[in-house]
Symmetry: C2
Subunit: 188 residues, 2 copies
């Protein structure tokens, strides 16, 4: 089961952000990443998990096996991220399939034996053919920090790239899914 | 040069919609489609055009060769779509690279000799290897109407699919770009 892990370096870690300005902290990018990881046309990818690591302080997880009522638009998913941060303060409840923890990247990396970094300079995904049951770690609009990189190198199984054009996080997730969806197929 | 054509069957054709509720008329979906067609990481795909056909009444075009200041978030691109519809009423101005016309799909299809439909039941893109210099027509959350289908069949060069999983419009655009980006490459 693929697990997409997205590092939000500027992401909010408290719930005091507005759904009218999601670009602050790049919640827009995180919301689109959840959409790309979990939604297909008129349905959910119920074999996929996505974790948003917010400034290495909090981690919000969306589990496709349990999620209900996820919408594709940024405002709606931004609202769920805000609810998760409210939950950290003991307020409110979360939708099914969404959890939040007060930890950063390392415990998330420990969960699966295979950890790939998505990186513009990585090996072509068509050559590496990563296992489906792996963690795929992506950064937001910023490159991985030195600290991220050290951790990823110690847990990681290498850098992979989806192509020669450096893409947005959500489009990279879409391309990884598309690779995993089509690997080995000649007819759909 | 790829030209993505997205049919917005429920899209607004006047500017009286709110940026706080972009899911009405699925402006959120249209905005994400523009993002997927024209933006790469920290830059623009300056060899790509995307046209949004709004209820077969108006067409808003974003030309990557001329566009400036396009942001990836839905609210921002939704605002540009609203400006385009205001422009139809003779109000305001449009950003560079954005134009609006009061016509539907047919004149857009006439522009390029090759027209592919993106369709869940199409031939695998890996088998059809479509020409880069083509129009790629996609529907929104609804299937093509009978009228769309007749027009597409008369102008079209066939149905292609990006994989066995039916995807959202924007992720399909990302997958087509990824195919065109990587076709023929074994190293990136």
């Amino acid at each position: 089961m693929p697990h997409f892990i997205v590092l939000g370096h500027d992401a909010p870690t408290t719930a005091d952000f507005s759904l009218d300005s999601l670009t602050a902290g790049r919640v827009d990018l995180l919301a689109r990443s959840v959409n790309a990881a979990l939604l297909r046309s008129h349905g959910v990818r119920d074999d996929t998990v996505v974790s948003l690591v917010l400034q290495d302080e909090a981690t919000v997880r969306f589990d496709g096996r349990e999620i209900g009522g996820l919408n594709p638009d940024e405002r709606s998913t931004g609202g769920v991220i805000r609810k998760a941060l409210q939950r950290l303060d003991g307020r409110g409840a979360l939708p099914d399939g969404v959890t939040v923890k007060t930890h950063g990247l390392e415990p998330v990396l420990e969960e699966k034996p295979l950890v790939y970094q998505l990186h513009a300079d990585g090996e072509p995904i068509t050559e590496t053919s990563p296992d489906r049951d792996a963690s795929f770690v992506l950064s937001d609009h910023r490159p991985f920090t030195e600290q991220d990189q050290e951790l990823l190198d110690s847990y990681g199984d290498g850098k992979i790239s989806v192509g020669p054009v450096s893409l947005h996080t959500d489009h990279t997730i879409a391309a990884v899914h598309n690779f995993l969806d089509t690997a080995g197929y000649t007819e759909y």
